[in-house]
């Protein structure tokens, strides 16, 4: 097949190590996940005082929320949540 090139679309394409891992080709920064400022803004807008984090890398967000006036914890240990997260990440 001539004239073919591959590309990969993901929020991870924002940085070089992730693009390199894809073995060359163009990486497009495109994601259906919210970024950090958007995530924090949305949490603020909900007015919630307690936040349970169910998705992705929960640790840093939980820590940041707890340091900034929220009561937060990760729910990933819950078996139903863990199963759902595994499906979503697939």
């Amino acid at each position: 097949m001539g004239g073919v090139s591959t590309a990969f679309a993901s929020g991870w394409m924002l940085f070089r190590a992730a693009r390199r891992q894809r073995g060359g080709g163009r990486g497009f920064v495109l994601s259906d996940h919210v970024d950090w400022p958007g995530l924090i803004a949305t949490i603020r807008e909900t007015g919630a005082s307690r936040v349970l984090v169910t998705h992705g890398v929960a640790g840093p967000l939980v820590r940041w929320l707890n340091e900034n006036g929220w009561q937060a914890e990760a729910l990933s240990a819950h078996p139903v949540i863990a199963a759902q997260t595994a499906v979503d990440a697939g």
Partner: protein, 141 residues
């Protein structure tokens, strides 16, 4: 600087040696010798030593981006390269025309070594991701 950024981008996207060679040819044919020699030096792994302490770079960027230092370290752990991490964390701001590579290196980057902390901070941590040199420039590995 823009030509060098473009070259860097092309090299990264290339999947074949022939594409990389073509990118080098285009670049070296189109830029002045002074830019070309800086580009060569950087791409061969040249690093400017002891310009600005990485510990201060981390601190300034954390303050500018309004993030706690531990969160900057979390980002660094994922991204892998300190210069790239810091450039990504700075709020973006377009600069109309960044200087040519040699001008940037000789007139802005090299003088940082003897500059006051305020000058260093202003240059390194002011918002402006799009004009920030890539991590190779800071030599933070």
């Amino acid at each position: 600087m823009r030509a060098f950024s473009q070259l860097f981008d092309q090299l990264e996207r290339a999947t074949q040696a022939s594409e990389r060679i073509a990118a080098f040819e285009d670049y070296f044919r189109s830029v002045p010798a002074a830019d070309a020699s800086w580009a060569m030096w950087i791409l061969m792994g040249g690093r400017l030593k002891r310009l600005v302490a990485p510990v201060q770079l981390r601190q300034w960027v954390a303050e500018t981006a309004d993030l706690p230092p531990w969160l900057v370290e979390e980002c660094h752990a994922v991204v892998g390269d300190l210069g790239e991490t810091l450039a990504l964390l700075l709020p973006p701001k377009a600069t109309p025309s960044p200087p040519a590579l040699a001008t940037l290196m000789q007139q802005r980057v090299l003088p940082l070594a003897g500059a006051s902390e305020a000058v260093q901070r202003d240059w390194c941590a002011r918002p402006g991701r799009s004009s920030m040199p890539d991590s190779a420039m800071f030599g933070t590995g």
